[in-house]
Amino acid sequence: MSDTQDPPQLYAAREPIFPRRVKGTFRTLKWWLMGFMLGIYYITPWLRWDRGPLMPDQAVLLDLSSRRFFFFMIEIWPNEFYFVAGLLIMAGLGLFLFTSAAGRVWCGYACPQTVWTDLFILVERWVEGDRNARIRLHRQPWNWEKLIKNGIKWWLWLLIGLATGGAWVFYFTDAPTLFWGLLNGTASPVAYITMAVLTFTTFFFGGFAREQICIYACPWPRIQAAMMDEDTITIGYRSWRGEPRGKQSVQTSGDCIDCMACVNVCPMGIDIRDGQQLACITCGLCIDACNGIMDKIGKPHGLVGYLALTDEPLEKAGKADKPIWKHILRPRTIVYTVLWAGIGIGLVAALFLRANLDASITPVRNPPYVTLSNGDIRNTYDMRLRNKHGEDRWFTVSATAGGDVTLALEGTDALRVLVKANETLVQRLFVTAKAGTVAATAHHLPLRLWINDVAGTEAPKAERIYKDTIFNGKEDN
C-alpha cells in the first residue's frame, strides 16, 4: 500500500493543436504547392480533348461503365490495364526514391491529408484568429461567440469538403453533363453518395482527425522508415549549437532561447528539438519559425534545418557538411531511379508499339474437336476483335497451317466481319481439316491465324496481325 504512484494511463485524450501562423521560405513554398495541386485537382476534369464524334471529349476520364481510361491522347482498354499497374508501380517507386533521398517529403508537402489540413487550418485562422485567440476560444465555455465562430468554421469546412467530393466525381463521367445533372437533381445516385462520403471524410479528416490520421491510421509513415538511412536528408535540430537552451543574456547558453516558436507552429504538435520522431511529417514550418527568431536575435539561420545524420559528427567537429549530392547519390537511390526509369521507358515503348487492332483467339476446348459427317475434323475458336480506330472497319481471317484447313465464320458466309468503331466483337471461327490429312489426325498442330484489317474509309493501309494457337486432331483416326 505504500505505492502511491498513479497507475499508468491506458488511454489519453487527443491534445488539441493550435498551429501558429508562420512566414518563411517553406511556408511560401507550401502555399504555392497547395495552389498548384488543388488547381490540378479541380481543373483537370474540365479540360477538353477532341476525340471525334463517337468518343468522349474529356481529356482525363476514367470511364468505368464503358471500361475505358482516357488520358489526353492515350486511351487504355481493359486488356491494357498493365499501363495503369505500371503507373502505380512507378508512383510507388517514386515515393521510395523521394523518401530515401529526402525523408517524408510526400507527407510534408504533397499528401492530400497534409494539404487539406493546411487549408482547414487556414480557414480556422481566418474565422477564429491566430494561435492564442484559438486557444482562448477553445478554453472558454460555450457561448454565442464560440457557437457562431465554430458554426462558420464548420460550414466553410463542409463547403470545402463538398467541393472536394464534387471534383472527384467529375473524373468518372463527362464533367459539364454531370455538373448540370447535379444541379437539377438528375445525376446518378452513385454521384451523390460518393460526394456525400467524400464531403464527410474530408470534413472529418481535415477538421478533426488531422495528425491522428498520420500517427495512427496511415501505414505509409511506418513503411517509410525502411527506406531512410543515415544519409537521408531530413529535418533536425542542431543541439550542439542550441544547447544548453536558455536566455540570451546568459553567457553559457547556446543559440536556442527556448522560445517555443518551433513547437507552436507545428501542425503535428511535436517538439523537433526532441530529435527525429515518429510524428514528424517534415513539413518545414519549424525551420521557418526558428529562422525568423534567429533573424530577431541576430544569429545565423539553420538551428533547425534540413540535415542528414552523417552531418552531425562533421558539424560537431566544426567541419563542413557533406555536399548534398553525396547524400543523395547512393546505391539505394540509384537503384530506385533505375527501376523507376526502366518501367517508365518500358511503358512509353509499349504505348508506341501497341496496335490499333488487337485480337485474342481462344480455342473452344469443350469438345477439343468435332467430327463431321464426312469425317472432317473441325475446331472452334472464339475470337475477340478490338477495333480502336474511330471508325467501323472490316476484318478478314486467314490461316497458315501445316495442312490444308478451311475457315468459316459463324453467322456469315463470307470470311469478312465488320467491327464497329471502338468496339469489341466476339466472333466464332470454325476451322476444318479434311479427313485423313495431317492436321485431322495429329494430336495437335500449331495453327497461325491472321487477322487482316482490310477496309478503313480513311486509312486503307492494311494492317495485319497474327495469333498462334493450336488445331486439335482426332488422334486415333
Binding site: Y11, Q212, P244, V370, S373, N374, R378
Partner: protein, 312 residues
C-alpha cells in the same frame, strides 16, 4: 544521438514497457481515447445490426430483423425487374418468324445469350456443357452437321418443344418407333417391333455390312450375306444403302458420326439389344401445370443450338 539536455524525454513522461532490445526501448504510450470510443461504437453498431438484420440463429432459421431484409427477396425482385426489361424482346422473339430471328442482330444477340444460359441450366446434363453430347450413352452431339431429325432451325425448335419418345407429350417425335432388339434371345418391349429374329451369326453379318457401307474395314463375305438381311429388315427405316431417314429419326449409317459408336462391338450391342433414346418435352404443359420452358426460351435455345456449327 542528440546530446544530453533534452528537456522532456518521452521516457520520463510515459515510461517504458520494460522491453529492451539492443538498447531500443519500447515506450508505454497510452492509446488515443477515440480508439476506445470507436471500439464501443463498433459494438453498438453490431448490436444494432443484429436487431435490424437477420442474425441470431434459432432452431428453424434466424431472427428476421426489423428491416425485413432478405437477399432471397432481393434476388426475386431483381429477377422480376430483368424479366420486365426482357419482356418486349421476348415478345418480339415469339412473334418473329423462326427463320428470320438470325437475320435480326438484336434478336439474335439476345437469343444467343439467353439460349446459352438456358442450355447450361437445362440441356447440359445430357448434351454436355459444350453441347458435344455423350456418344456411348446416345446423347447426340449438337455441334456436328449430322442430325437425326433435321438441323434447320424449325426442326430443332420442334425437337426441343416436344422431345423424343417421351411418354408425356402426345406430339413427341418417334413415339413407338425405336431401334428394335434383333437378337432371337431378346425379350421385352424393344424386341416386339423386330420384323425378324436374328441369330448371333446373322447379327454379325449385318454388322459387317454396316461397317462396309460406313467405309470401315469389314469381312466381305459376311457383309454380302448381311446386305440381304439389311435389305429385308433395316431398309424400312434406315433407307436404301443405310442413308437414314429423318422422318423416323433413323441415323445415317454411311457417315462418320455415330450416336452410340460405329465400332464392331458397339454395333453388335446395338443390333442385339436395340436402342431407344428419350428426350423430354420442354414445351408441353400438362393440364394444371406449366411447360418446362416458355416458347421464348425454347426459341432462344433453338437459335443457340443452331449457331453451334452444325445448323442447316
Amino acid at each position: 544521438m542528440f546530446a544530453k539536455p533534452i528537456k522532456d524525454d518521452a521516457k520520463d513522461k510515459v515510461g517504458t514497457t520494460g522491453h529492451s532490445w539492443d538498447g531500443i526501448e519500447e515506450l508505454n504510450n497510452p492509446l488515443p481515447r477515440w480508439w476506445l470510443w470507436t471500439f464501443y461504437l463498433c459494438i453498438l453498431f453490431a448490436l444494432g445490426y443484429t436487431i435490424a438484420y437477420p442474425a441470431w440463429p434459432l432452431i428453424h432459421g434466424a431472427t428476421p430483423g426489423v428491416l425485413g431484409a432478405s437477399t432471397r427477396a432481393d434476388v426475386e425482385k431483381d429477377i422480376q425487374h430483368f424479366d420486365a426489361l426482357n419482356a418486349p424482346i421476348k415478345a418480339k422473339l415469339v412473334a418473329a418468324d423462326l427463320t428470320a430471328i438470325e437475320g435480326d442482330d438484336a434478336l439474335k444477340a439476345y437469343a444467343l445469350a439467353a439460349g446459352k444460359s438456358l442450355f447450361a441450366t437445362n440441356c447440359a446434363p445430357c448434351h454436355g456443357a459444350g453441347a458435344a453430347g455423350v456418344q456411348g450413352l446416345g446423347y447426340p452431339n449438337l455441334l456436328d452437321n449430322d442430325w437425326l431429325y433435321g438441323g434447320a432451325i424449325d426442326a430443332i425448335h420442334t425437337t426441343i418443344t416436344h422431345g423424343v419418345r417421351n411418354t408425356v407429350d402426345p406430339d413427341a417425335r418417334n413415339v413407338g418407333i425405336y431401334m428394335p432388339a434383333w437378337s432371337d434371345k431378346a425379350t421385352g418391349p424393344l424386341a416386339d417391333m423386330a420384323t425378324a429374329k436374328l441369330t448371333g451369326e446373322q447379327i454379325g453379318q449385318v454388322v459387317n455390312y454396316v461397317l462396309k457401307i460406313s467405309g470401315q474395314a469389314a469381312d466381305e463375305g459376311k457383309a454380302t450375306a448381311g446386305a440381304a438381311i439389311f435389305t429385308e429388315n433395316c431398309v424400312a427405316c434406315h433407307g436404301e444403302g443405310g442413308i437414314g431417314n429423318r422422318d423416323l429419326g433413323a441415323p445415317n449409317l454411311t457417315d462418320a458420326i455415330w450416336l452410340y459408336g460405329g465400332d464392331e462391338t458397339t454395333l453388335t450391342a446395338t443390333l442385339t439389344a436395340g436402342r431407344g433414346g428419350v428426350m423430354p418435352s420442354w414445351g408441353y404443359a400438362a393440364a394444371g401445370s406449366s411447360a418446362r420452358l416458355t416458347e421464348a426460351d425454347i426459341r432462344a435455345v433453338a437459335v443457340y443450338v443452331h449457331s453451334l456449327g452444325g445448323g442447316e
